[in-house]
Protein backbone atom coordinates (compact mmCIF):
# COMPACT_ATOMS: atom_id res chain seq x y z
CA UNK A 1 0.00 0.00 0.00
CA UNK A 2 2.72 2.41 1.02
CA UNK A 3 4.61 1.65 -2.12
CA UNK A 4 1.61 2.43 -4.20
CA UNK A 5 1.14 5.83 -2.59
CA UNK A 6 4.75 6.79 -2.97
CA UNK A 7 4.43 5.96 -6.61
CA UNK A 8 1.13 7.64 -7.33
CA UNK A 9 1.66 10.86 -5.47
CA UNK A 10 4.67 12.04 -7.47
CA UNK A 11 2.91 10.92 -10.63
CA UNK A 12 -0.11 12.98 -9.70
CA UNK A 13 1.96 16.00 -8.79
CA UNK A 14 3.72 15.61 -12.12
CA UNK A 15 0.42 15.43 -13.94
CA UNK A 16 -0.72 18.63 -12.26
CA UNK A 17 2.52 20.36 -13.15
CA UNK A 18 2.22 19.42 -16.77
CA UNK A 19 -1.48 19.89 -17.31
CA UNK A 20 -2.70 22.57 -14.94
CA UNK A 21 -0.89 25.47 -16.65
CA UNK A 22 -2.82 24.76 -19.84
CA UNK A 23 -6.09 24.67 -17.97
CA UNK A 24 -5.18 27.88 -16.20
CA UNK A 25 -4.36 29.57 -19.48
CA UNK A 26 -7.68 28.59 -20.96
CA UNK A 27 -9.70 29.87 -18.04
CA UNK A 28 -7.60 33.00 -17.66
CA UNK A 29 -8.39 33.94 -21.22
CA UNK A 30 -12.04 33.94 -20.29
CA UNK A 31 -11.66 36.21 -17.30
CA UNK A 32 -11.79 39.98 -17.11
CA UNK A 33 -8.39 41.68 -16.97
CA UNK A 34 -8.37 42.28 -13.24
CA UNK A 35 -9.00 38.66 -12.35
CA UNK A 36 -6.52 37.02 -14.65
CA UNK A 37 -3.75 36.42 -12.19
CA UNK A 38 -5.96 34.39 -9.92
CA UNK A 39 -4.75 30.86 -9.44
CA UNK A 40 -8.16 29.32 -9.17
CA UNK A 41 -9.77 28.42 -12.44
CA UNK A 42 -13.32 29.50 -12.03
CA UNK A 43 -14.82 32.91 -11.67
CA UNK A 44 -18.23 34.44 -11.91
CA UNK A 45 -17.28 36.61 -14.84
CA UNK A 46 -16.23 34.20 -17.53
CA UNK A 47 -16.81 35.64 -20.96
CA UNK A 48 -15.53 35.47 -24.49
CA UNK A 49 -14.64 39.13 -24.88
CA UNK A 50 -10.93 38.55 -25.28
CA UNK A 51 -11.56 36.11 -28.07
CA UNK A 52 -13.67 38.58 -30.00
CA UNK A 53 -10.86 41.10 -29.70
CA UNK A 54 -8.37 38.59 -31.08
CA UNK A 55 -10.61 37.78 -34.01
CA UNK A 56 -11.14 41.47 -34.68
CA UNK A 57 -7.51 42.47 -34.51
CA UNK A 58 -5.70 39.74 -36.37
CA UNK A 59 -6.66 37.38 -39.19
CA UNK A 60 -6.21 34.33 -37.00
CA UNK A 61 -8.62 32.15 -38.90
CA UNK A 62 -6.74 32.92 -42.06
CA UNK A 63 -3.49 32.07 -40.34
CA UNK A 64 -5.02 28.79 -39.27
CA UNK A 65 -5.78 27.97 -42.88
CA UNK A 66 -2.33 29.07 -43.94
CA UNK A 67 -0.78 26.74 -41.42
CA UNK A 68 -3.11 23.95 -42.48
CA UNK A 69 -2.28 24.45 -46.13
CA UNK A 70 1.46 24.66 -45.63
CA UNK A 71 1.73 21.81 -43.16
CA UNK A 72 -0.48 19.49 -45.15
CA UNK A 73 1.38 20.17 -48.38
CA UNK A 74 4.72 19.67 -46.72
CA UNK A 75 3.59 16.46 -45.05
CA UNK A 76 2.20 15.01 -48.26
CA UNK A 77 5.33 15.98 -50.14
CA UNK A 78 7.61 14.48 -47.53
CA UNK A 79 5.63 11.26 -47.50
CA UNK A 80 5.51 10.95 -51.27
CA UNK A 81 9.09 11.93 -52.01
CA UNK A 82 10.49 10.37 -48.88
CA UNK A 83 8.96 7.04 -49.76
CA UNK A 84 10.13 7.23 -53.35
CA UNK A 85 13.71 7.93 -52.39
CA UNK A 86 13.53 5.47 -49.51
CA UNK A 87 12.30 2.81 -51.87
CA UNK A 88 15.07 3.48 -54.36
CA UNK A 89 17.65 3.30 -51.64
CA UNK A 90 16.33 0.12 -50.13
CA UNK A 91 15.10 -2.03 -52.99
CA UNK A 92 16.90 -0.86 -56.08
CA UNK A 93 20.48 -1.41 -56.99
CA UNK A 94 22.40 1.23 -58.84
CA UNK A 95 25.78 2.82 -58.86
CA UNK A 96 26.17 5.56 -56.34
CA UNK A 97 23.39 4.27 -54.12
CA UNK A 98 25.61 4.05 -51.08
CA UNK A 99 27.12 7.42 -51.84
CA UNK A 100 23.70 9.01 -51.81
CA UNK A 101 22.93 7.31 -48.54
CA UNK A 102 26.07 8.82 -47.06
CA UNK A 103 25.06 12.16 -48.46
CA UNK A 104 21.74 11.93 -46.67
CA UNK A 105 23.39 11.06 -43.39
CA UNK A 106 25.83 13.92 -43.85
CA UNK A 107 22.97 16.31 -44.46
CA UNK A 108 21.43 15.38 -41.15
CA UNK A 109 24.56 16.43 -39.37
CA UNK A 110 24.72 19.94 -40.79
CA UNK A 111 23.43 22.41 -38.24
CA UNK A 112 20.71 24.52 -39.79
CA UNK A 113 22.39 27.61 -38.37
CA UNK A 114 24.80 27.64 -41.25
CA UNK A 115 22.29 27.18 -44.05
CA UNK A 116 19.59 29.41 -42.65
CA UNK A 117 20.75 32.74 -44.05
CA UNK A 118 21.88 31.52 -47.48
CA UNK A 119 18.62 29.59 -47.87
CA UNK A 120 16.79 32.82 -47.14
CA UNK A 121 18.89 34.57 -49.76
CA UNK A 122 18.02 31.84 -52.25
CA UNK A 123 14.34 32.33 -51.53
CA UNK A 124 14.73 36.06 -52.08
CA UNK A 125 16.49 35.51 -55.37
CA UNK A 126 13.78 33.16 -56.54
CA UNK A 127 11.27 35.83 -55.69
CA UNK A 128 9.54 33.57 -53.24
CA UNK A 129 9.54 35.85 -50.23
CA UNK A 130 5.99 36.35 -48.96
CA UNK A 131 4.67 33.31 -50.77
CA UNK A 132 3.40 29.89 -49.82
CA UNK A 133 6.10 28.39 -52.03
CA UNK A 134 8.75 30.07 -49.92
CA UNK A 135 7.34 28.35 -46.85
CA UNK A 136 6.82 24.98 -48.48
CA UNK A 137 9.83 24.40 -50.73
CA UNK A 138 12.56 24.20 -48.12
CA UNK A 139 10.49 21.68 -46.20
CA UNK A 140 9.49 19.44 -49.04
CA UNK A 141 12.05 16.81 -48.35
CA UNK A 142 13.29 15.41 -45.11
CA UNK A 143 16.31 13.17 -44.60
CA UNK A 144 14.89 11.55 -41.49
CA UNK A 145 11.74 10.60 -43.37
CA UNK A 146 13.82 9.01 -46.10
CA UNK A 147 15.72 6.98 -43.55
CA UNK A 148 12.56 5.90 -41.77
CA UNK A 149 10.97 4.73 -44.99
CA UNK A 150 14.14 3.06 -46.13
CA UNK A 151 14.47 1.21 -42.87
CA UNK A 152 10.89 0.06 -42.96
CA UNK A 153 11.00 -0.99 -46.58
CA UNK A 154 13.90 -3.33 -46.04
CA UNK A 155 11.52 -5.45 -43.98
CA UNK A 156 9.11 -5.99 -46.84
CA UNK A 157 9.49 -9.55 -48.17
CA UNK A 158 11.19 -9.66 -51.54
CA UNK A 159 8.65 -12.18 -52.80
CA UNK A 160 5.86 -9.61 -52.78
CA UNK A 161 7.89 -7.27 -54.91
CA UNK A 162 8.92 -10.06 -57.26
CA UNK A 163 5.37 -11.17 -57.92
CA UNK A 164 4.30 -7.63 -58.59
CA UNK A 165 7.13 -7.18 -61.04
CA UNK A 166 6.13 -10.38 -62.80
CA UNK A 167 2.64 -8.97 -63.07
CA UNK A 168 4.19 -6.14 -65.05
CA UNK A 169 4.16 -3.36 -62.44
CA UNK A 170 6.75 -0.65 -62.73
CA UNK A 171 8.58 0.65 -59.71
CA UNK A 172 6.22 3.44 -58.81
CA UNK A 173 3.27 1.13 -58.97
CA UNK A 174 5.07 -1.36 -56.76
CA UNK A 175 5.75 1.36 -54.29
CA UNK A 176 2.35 2.89 -54.04
CA UNK A 177 0.09 -0.07 -54.65
CA UNK A 178 1.91 -2.77 -52.75
CA UNK A 179 4.44 -1.39 -50.33
CA UNK A 180 2.78 1.70 -48.97
CA UNK A 181 -0.41 0.00 -47.84
CA UNK A 182 1.82 -2.32 -45.84
CA UNK A 183 3.76 0.56 -44.35
CA UNK A 184 1.09 2.26 -42.32
CA UNK A 185 3.25 2.58 -39.18
CA UNK A 186 6.01 4.28 -41.16
CA UNK A 187 3.58 6.57 -42.91
CA UNK A 188 1.93 7.45 -39.61
CA UNK A 189 5.27 8.16 -38.00
CA UNK A 190 6.54 10.31 -40.80
CA UNK A 191 3.18 12.00 -41.20
CA UNK A 192 2.75 12.96 -37.57
CA UNK A 193 6.37 14.02 -37.13
CA UNK A 194 6.38 16.16 -40.23
CA UNK A 195 3.01 17.71 -39.62
CA UNK A 196 3.70 18.59 -35.99
CA UNK A 197 7.13 20.05 -36.62
CA UNK A 198 6.03 22.06 -39.61
CA UNK A 199 2.92 23.31 -37.81
CA UNK A 200 4.99 24.50 -34.85
CA UNK A 201 7.80 25.96 -36.96
CA UNK A 202 8.10 29.66 -36.32
CA UNK A 203 11.63 30.87 -37.09
CA UNK A 204 11.41 30.24 -40.82
CA UNK A 205 8.01 31.91 -41.32
CA UNK A 206 9.25 34.88 -39.30
CA UNK A 207 12.07 35.24 -41.76
CA UNK A 208 10.30 34.58 -45.02
CA UNK A 209 6.82 35.97 -44.55
CA UNK A 210 6.15 39.64 -43.87
CA UNK A 211 2.62 40.06 -45.09
CA UNK A 212 -0.02 39.43 -42.45
CA UNK A 213 -2.22 37.62 -44.92
CA UNK A 214 0.26 34.82 -45.36
CA UNK A 215 1.49 34.33 -41.83
CA UNK A 216 1.23 30.96 -40.20
CA UNK A 217 -0.65 30.63 -36.94
CA UNK A 218 2.33 30.46 -34.54
CA UNK A 219 3.98 33.33 -36.37
CA UNK A 220 0.90 35.52 -36.23
CA UNK A 221 0.42 34.91 -32.53
CA UNK A 222 4.10 35.61 -31.84
CA UNK A 223 3.97 38.93 -33.65
CA UNK A 224 0.68 39.75 -31.99
CA UNK A 225 2.06 39.20 -28.52
CA UNK A 226 5.56 40.57 -29.00
CA UNK A 227 4.67 43.42 -31.31
CA UNK A 228 2.35 45.15 -28.95
CA UNK A 229 -0.86 44.96 -30.93
CA UNK A 230 -2.42 43.22 -28.00
CA UNK A 231 -1.53 46.29 -26.06
CA UNK A 232 -0.91 45.35 -22.50
CA UNK A 233 -4.08 43.32 -22.45
CA UNK A 234 -3.04 40.05 -20.95
CA UNK A 235 -6.34 38.32 -21.49
CA UNK A 236 -6.14 38.95 -25.20
CA UNK A 237 -2.61 37.56 -25.38
CA UNK A 238 -3.68 34.43 -23.53
CA UNK A 239 -6.70 34.05 -25.77
CA UNK A 240 -4.51 34.11 -28.85
CA UNK A 241 -2.18 31.55 -27.30
CA UNK A 242 -5.12 29.29 -26.46
CA UNK A 243 -6.39 29.52 -30.01
CA UNK A 244 -2.95 28.55 -31.23
CA UNK A 245 -2.82 25.54 -28.95
CA UNK A 246 -6.30 24.26 -29.73
CA UNK A 247 -5.75 22.57 -33.12
CA UNK A 248 -2.82 20.48 -32.00
CA UNK A 249 -4.40 19.60 -28.67
CA UNK A 250 -7.53 18.61 -30.50
CA UNK A 251 -5.58 16.32 -32.82
CA UNK A 252 -3.59 15.05 -29.88
CA UNK A 253 -6.65 14.01 -27.91
CA UNK A 254 -7.69 11.66 -30.67
CA UNK A 255 -4.35 10.55 -32.02
CA UNK A 256 -2.40 10.63 -28.82
CA UNK A 257 -1.10 7.10 -29.09
CA UNK A 258 0.21 7.68 -32.59
CA UNK A 259 1.92 10.89 -31.55
CA UNK A 260 3.78 9.32 -28.72
CA UNK A 261 4.69 6.18 -30.54
CA UNK A 262 5.96 7.91 -33.67
CA UNK A 263 8.11 10.33 -31.75
CA UNK A 264 9.43 7.52 -29.60
CA UNK A 265 10.21 5.43 -32.61
CA UNK A 266 12.46 8.09 -34.06
CA UNK A 267 14.49 7.97 -30.90
CA UNK A 268 14.92 4.25 -31.15
CA UNK A 269 15.82 4.57 -34.81
CA UNK A 270 19.03 6.30 -33.90
Amino acid sequence: MNRKISTYIPLLIGAIFFAYPFLWMFFASLKPETQISELWLLSKNLNLKNYSIVFAKIPILRAFFNSLLVSTTITLSVIVFGSIVGYALSRLNFKGRDFILLLILFTMMIPFQITLIPTYVLIVKLGLVDSYAGLIFPGMMNSLAILIFRGFFTTIPQSLIESARIDGCNNLQILFKIIMPLSKPAVATVGILTFTSSWNEVLWPLIVIRSEKLMTMPQLVTIFVVGGQAGSQLGVQLASATLLALPIIFAYVFLQRYFIESLARTGLKE
Binding site: Y87, L92, I114, T119, L122, Y252
Partner: protein
Protein backbone atom coordinates in the same frame (compact mmCIF):
# COMPACT_ATOMS: atom_id res chain seq x y z
CA UNK B 1 19.57 -10.70 -53.87
CA UNK B 2 18.57 -11.01 -57.47
CA UNK B 3 20.79 -8.96 -59.71
CA UNK B 4 18.71 -6.08 -61.06
CA UNK B 5 18.61 -5.37 -64.77
CA UNK B 6 19.87 -2.15 -66.27
CA UNK B 7 16.32 -0.92 -66.47
CA UNK B 8 16.07 -0.95 -62.74
CA UNK B 9 19.23 1.07 -62.42
CA UNK B 10 17.80 3.84 -64.48
CA UNK B 11 14.64 3.76 -62.40
CA UNK B 12 16.82 4.09 -59.35
CA UNK B 13 18.35 7.28 -60.66
CA UNK B 14 14.97 8.72 -61.49
CA UNK B 15 13.58 7.98 -58.13
CA UNK B 16 16.48 9.50 -56.32
CA UNK B 17 16.34 12.59 -58.52
CA UNK B 18 13.91 14.55 -56.32
CA UNK B 19 16.32 14.29 -53.43
CA UNK B 20 19.27 15.32 -55.57
CA UNK B 21 17.45 18.38 -56.84
CA UNK B 22 16.44 19.29 -53.31
CA UNK B 23 19.98 18.72 -52.09
CA UNK B 24 21.44 20.90 -54.81
CA UNK B 25 19.00 23.72 -54.19
CA UNK B 26 18.61 23.74 -50.43
CA UNK B 27 21.79 22.25 -49.12
CA UNK B 28 24.65 22.47 -51.59
CA UNK B 29 23.83 25.92 -52.92
CA UNK B 30 23.30 27.47 -49.47
CA UNK B 31 26.50 25.92 -48.17
CA UNK B 32 28.53 27.18 -51.10
CA UNK B 33 26.82 30.53 -51.03
CA UNK B 34 27.51 30.91 -47.35
CA UNK B 35 31.20 30.52 -48.03
CA UNK B 36 30.96 33.35 -50.50
CA UNK B 37 28.75 35.51 -48.34
CA UNK B 38 31.23 35.34 -45.49
CA UNK B 39 33.61 37.57 -47.39
CA UNK B 40 31.04 40.16 -48.39
CA UNK B 41 28.87 42.82 -46.93
CA UNK B 42 25.29 42.71 -48.13
CA UNK B 43 21.89 43.94 -47.15
CA UNK B 44 20.13 42.05 -49.91
CA UNK B 45 18.90 45.19 -51.59
CA UNK B 46 22.10 46.84 -52.73
CA UNK B 47 24.80 44.87 -54.57
CA UNK B 48 27.21 42.72 -52.58
CA UNK B 49 30.43 44.36 -51.51
CA UNK B 50 33.58 42.31 -51.20
CA UNK B 51 35.25 43.10 -47.91
CA UNK B 52 37.71 40.26 -47.51
CA UNK B 53 38.19 39.25 -43.92
CA UNK B 54 36.48 42.24 -42.34
CA UNK B 55 33.60 40.06 -41.12
CA UNK B 56 36.04 37.89 -39.20
CA UNK B 57 37.79 40.93 -37.78
CA UNK B 58 34.48 42.18 -36.49
CA UNK B 59 33.53 38.75 -35.18
CA UNK B 60 36.60 38.50 -33.03
CA UNK B 61 36.01 41.95 -31.60
CA UNK B 62 32.36 41.15 -30.97
CA UNK B 63 32.02 40.63 -27.22
CA UNK B 64 28.29 40.38 -27.53
CA UNK B 65 28.50 37.40 -29.85
CA UNK B 66 30.79 35.47 -27.53
CA UNK B 67 28.50 36.32 -24.66
CA UNK B 68 25.61 34.87 -26.61
CA UNK B 69 27.49 31.63 -27.16
CA UNK B 70 28.31 31.40 -23.47
CA UNK B 71 24.67 32.06 -22.63
CA UNK B 72 23.67 29.19 -24.86
CA UNK B 73 26.19 26.93 -23.14
CA UNK B 74 24.88 27.99 -19.73
CA UNK B 75 21.41 27.12 -20.88
CA UNK B 76 22.54 23.67 -21.98
CA UNK B 77 24.47 22.99 -18.81
CA UNK B 78 21.30 23.47 -16.76
CA UNK B 79 18.73 22.10 -19.17
CA UNK B 80 20.35 18.77 -20.00
CA UNK B 81 21.10 17.41 -16.53
CA UNK B 82 17.73 18.63 -15.26
CA UNK B 83 16.01 16.91 -18.11
CA UNK B 84 17.78 13.62 -17.61
CA UNK B 85 17.12 13.51 -13.89
CA UNK B 86 13.44 14.37 -14.17
CA UNK B 87 12.85 12.12 -17.17
CA UNK B 88 14.52 9.19 -15.47
CA UNK B 89 12.55 9.80 -12.31
CA UNK B 90 9.18 9.75 -13.99
CA UNK B 91 10.07 6.99 -16.42
CA UNK B 92 11.01 4.88 -13.45
CA UNK B 93 7.66 5.50 -11.81
CA UNK B 94 5.77 4.79 -14.99
CA UNK B 95 7.67 1.57 -15.45
CA UNK B 96 6.06 0.13 -12.36
CA UNK B 97 2.79 -1.71 -12.40
CA UNK B 98 0.35 1.16 -12.25
CA UNK B 99 -3.05 1.97 -13.53
CA UNK B 100 -3.68 4.83 -15.90
CA UNK B 101 -0.17 4.59 -17.29
CA UNK B 102 -1.19 5.85 -20.72
CA UNK B 103 -3.14 8.71 -19.20
CA UNK B 104 -0.13 9.89 -17.24
CA UNK B 105 2.09 9.39 -20.24
CA UNK B 106 -0.27 11.38 -22.40
CA UNK B 107 -0.38 14.26 -19.93
CA UNK B 108 3.38 14.41 -19.55
CA UNK B 109 3.75 14.36 -23.28
CA UNK B 110 1.26 17.15 -23.92
CA UNK B 111 3.72 20.06 -23.71
CA UNK B 112 5.93 18.35 -26.29
CA UNK B 113 3.42 18.64 -29.10
CA UNK B 114 2.12 22.08 -28.26
CA UNK B 115 3.88 24.94 -30.00
CA UNK B 116 6.80 26.59 -28.19
CA UNK B 117 5.02 29.86 -28.74
CA UNK B 118 2.12 28.77 -26.55
CA UNK B 119 4.45 27.44 -23.89
CA UNK B 120 6.44 30.65 -23.85
CA UNK B 121 3.40 32.91 -23.58
CA UNK B 122 2.06 30.71 -20.82
CA UNK B 123 5.29 30.77 -18.84
CA UNK B 124 5.57 34.50 -19.27
CA UNK B 125 2.55 34.59 -17.01
CA UNK B 126 3.92 32.00 -14.66
CA UNK B 127 7.15 33.93 -14.27
CA UNK B 128 5.75 37.47 -14.05
CA UNK B 129 7.10 39.17 -10.98
CA UNK B 130 4.10 40.92 -9.52
CA UNK B 131 1.20 38.78 -10.60
CA UNK B 132 2.79 35.61 -11.91
CA UNK B 133 1.41 32.26 -10.86
CA UNK B 134 4.61 30.95 -9.35
CA UNK B 135 5.23 34.02 -7.28
CA UNK B 136 1.64 33.97 -6.11
CA UNK B 137 2.05 30.44 -4.85
CA UNK B 138 5.30 31.43 -3.18
CA UNK B 139 3.82 34.47 -1.45
CA UNK B 140 0.89 32.34 -0.46
CA UNK B 141 3.29 30.16 1.47
CA UNK B 142 5.06 33.15 2.92
CA UNK B 143 8.12 33.14 0.70
CA UNK B 144 9.55 36.14 -1.09
CA UNK B 145 8.78 36.73 -4.73
CA UNK B 146 11.51 35.72 -7.11
CA UNK B 147 12.51 37.95 -10.06
CA UNK B 148 12.46 35.07 -12.51
CA UNK B 149 12.94 36.99 -15.71
CA UNK B 150 14.15 40.29 -14.39
CA UNK B 151 17.31 39.23 -12.63
CA UNK B 152 20.35 38.73 -14.84
CA UNK B 153 21.45 35.74 -12.78
CA UNK B 154 18.17 33.89 -12.75
CA UNK B 155 16.75 34.69 -16.17
CA UNK B 156 18.59 32.07 -18.22
CA UNK B 157 18.09 29.31 -15.65
CA UNK B 158 14.38 30.19 -15.68
CA UNK B 159 14.30 29.68 -19.42
CA UNK B 160 16.14 26.38 -18.97
CA UNK B 161 13.48 25.22 -16.51
CA UNK B 162 10.72 26.18 -18.92
CA UNK B 163 12.44 24.32 -21.78
CA UNK B 164 12.76 21.27 -19.58
CA UNK B 165 9.06 21.40 -18.76
CA UNK B 166 8.26 21.48 -22.42
CA UNK B 167 10.51 18.68 -23.60
CA UNK B 168 10.82 16.27 -20.73
CA UNK B 169 7.72 14.32 -21.78
CA UNK B 170 9.51 13.20 -24.90
CA UNK B 171 12.48 11.95 -22.93
CA UNK B 172 10.25 10.26 -20.39
CA UNK B 173 8.82 8.24 -23.24
CA UNK B 174 12.29 7.43 -24.54
CA UNK B 175 13.53 6.33 -21.14
CA UNK B 176 10.38 4.35 -20.56
CA UNK B 177 10.97 2.43 -23.77
CA UNK B 178 14.56 1.91 -22.74
CA UNK B 179 13.57 0.71 -19.28
CA UNK B 180 11.02 -1.66 -20.64
CA UNK B 181 13.60 -3.27 -22.83
CA UNK B 182 15.71 -4.28 -19.85
CA UNK B 183 14.93 -7.91 -19.13
CA UNK B 184 13.35 -8.50 -15.76
CA UNK B 185 15.54 -11.49 -15.09
CA UNK B 186 18.52 -9.23 -14.51
CA UNK B 187 16.72 -7.56 -11.62
CA UNK B 188 15.52 -10.87 -10.23
CA UNK B 189 19.02 -12.25 -10.23
CA UNK B 190 20.31 -9.14 -8.51
CA UNK B 191 17.63 -9.39 -5.83
CA UNK B 192 18.58 -12.94 -5.14
CA UNK B 193 22.14 -11.75 -4.70
CA UNK B 194 20.84 -9.26 -2.13
CA UNK B 195 21.28 -6.04 -4.08
CA UNK B 196 19.54 -2.92 -2.79
CA UNK B 197 17.35 -0.75 -4.98
CA UNK B 198 20.13 1.75 -5.26
CA UNK B 199 22.60 -0.88 -6.39
CA UNK B 200 20.13 -2.29 -8.85
CA UNK B 201 19.68 1.13 -10.33
CA UNK B 202 23.32 2.01 -10.47
CA UNK B 203 24.68 -1.30 -11.69
CA UNK B 204 21.96 -2.52 -14.01
CA UNK B 205 19.61 0.24 -15.07
CA UNK B 206 22.05 3.04 -15.77
CA UNK B 207 24.57 1.12 -17.83
CA UNK B 208 21.89 -0.58 -19.89
CA UNK B 209 20.16 2.70 -20.35
CA UNK B 210 23.32 4.32 -21.54
CA UNK B 211 22.46 4.35 -25.25
CA UNK B 212 19.24 6.13 -24.44
CA UNK B 213 21.06 8.60 -22.22
CA UNK B 214 23.49 9.30 -25.01
CA UNK B 215 20.61 9.81 -27.37
CA UNK B 216 18.89 12.16 -24.96
CA UNK B 217 22.03 14.21 -24.49
CA UNK B 218 22.71 14.48 -28.21
CA UNK B 219 19.14 15.42 -29.10
CA UNK B 220 18.89 17.96 -26.29
CA UNK B 221 22.20 19.51 -27.25
CA UNK B 222 21.28 19.97 -30.87
CA UNK B 223 17.89 21.31 -29.85
CA UNK B 224 19.39 23.56 -27.23
CA UNK B 225 21.70 25.23 -29.67
CA UNK B 226 18.75 26.46 -31.66
CA UNK B 227 17.30 28.28 -28.64
CA UNK B 228 15.56 31.28 -30.16
CA UNK B 229 11.84 31.75 -29.78
CA UNK B 230 11.84 31.58 -25.99
CA UNK B 231 14.18 34.50 -25.36
CA UNK B 232 12.70 36.30 -28.37
CA UNK B 233 9.26 36.37 -26.76
CA UNK B 234 10.13 36.46 -23.07
CA UNK B 235 13.02 38.84 -22.70
CA UNK B 236 14.30 40.07 -26.04
CA UNK B 237 17.73 38.93 -24.91
CA UNK B 238 17.86 40.80 -21.61
CA UNK B 239 18.23 41.45 -18.77
CA UNK B 240 21.78 42.59 -19.34
CA UNK B 241 22.04 40.25 -22.34
CA UNK B 242 21.90 37.23 -20.07
CA UNK B 243 19.32 35.47 -22.19
CA UNK B 244 20.72 36.50 -25.56
CA UNK B 245 21.14 33.15 -27.29
CA UNK B 246 23.48 32.79 -30.26
CA UNK B 247 20.58 32.20 -32.66
CA UNK B 248 18.79 35.28 -31.39
CA UNK B 249 21.89 37.39 -31.91
CA UNK B 250 22.39 36.03 -35.41
CA UNK B 251 18.72 36.64 -36.19
CA UNK B 252 19.00 40.24 -35.02
CA UNK B 253 22.11 40.85 -37.09
CA UNK B 254 20.51 39.41 -40.20
CA UNK B 255 16.95 40.61 -39.97
CA UNK B 256 16.97 43.70 -37.81
CA UNK B 257 20.21 45.24 -38.96
CA UNK B 258 20.37 43.61 -42.39
CA UNK B 259 23.99 42.51 -42.07
CA UNK B 260 23.64 39.39 -44.21
CA UNK B 261 27.34 38.79 -44.74
CA UNK B 262 28.17 39.27 -41.08
CA UNK B 263 25.28 37.08 -39.98
CA UNK B 264 26.41 34.33 -42.33
CA UNK B 265 29.88 34.57 -40.80
CA UNK B 266 28.41 34.29 -37.32
CA UNK B 267 26.31 31.31 -38.40
CA UNK B 268 29.34 29.62 -39.85
CA UNK B 269 31.39 30.13 -36.71
CA UNK B 270 28.52 29.00 -34.53
CA UNK B 271 28.08 25.83 -36.60
CA UNK B 272 31.75 25.06 -35.99
CA UNK B 273 31.22 25.52 -32.26
CA UNK B 274 28.30 23.11 -32.36
CA UNK B 275 30.28 20.49 -34.23
CA UNK B 276 33.12 20.74 -31.75
CA UNK B 277 30.74 20.40 -28.80
CA UNK B 278 28.90 17.44 -30.29
CA UNK B 279 32.11 15.62 -31.15
CA UNK B 280 33.56 16.32 -27.71
CA UNK B 281 30.37 15.06 -26.11
CA UNK B 282 30.46 11.87 -28.09
CA UNK B 283 34.05 11.21 -27.07
CA UNK B 284 33.36 12.01 -23.44
CA UNK B 285 30.20 9.97 -23.14
CA UNK B 286 31.56 7.02 -24.99
CA UNK B 287 34.45 6.94 -22.64
CA UNK B 288 31.97 6.79 -19.76
CA UNK B 289 30.49 3.57 -21.02
CA UNK B 290 33.76 1.71 -21.09
Amino acid sequence: MVKMSKVDSKAGYFMVMPYLIYFAAFIAYPLIFSFILIFHRWNIVTPMEFIGLKNFVRLFKDELFFKSIINTLIFLSIHIPLQIVIALFFANLLNKQIKFRSLFRALYFLPVVVSSVVVTILWQQMYAYETGLINQVLSGFGFKKIPWLVSPEIAMPSIAVMATWKNVGFYIVLFLAGLQSIPNELYEVAEIDGASSFQKFYRITLPLLNPTVVLVIVLSTIGGFSLFIEPYILTGGGPLDSTLSAMLYIYNQAFYFNHMGYAATLGFFFALVILVVVIAQRKFIEREVY
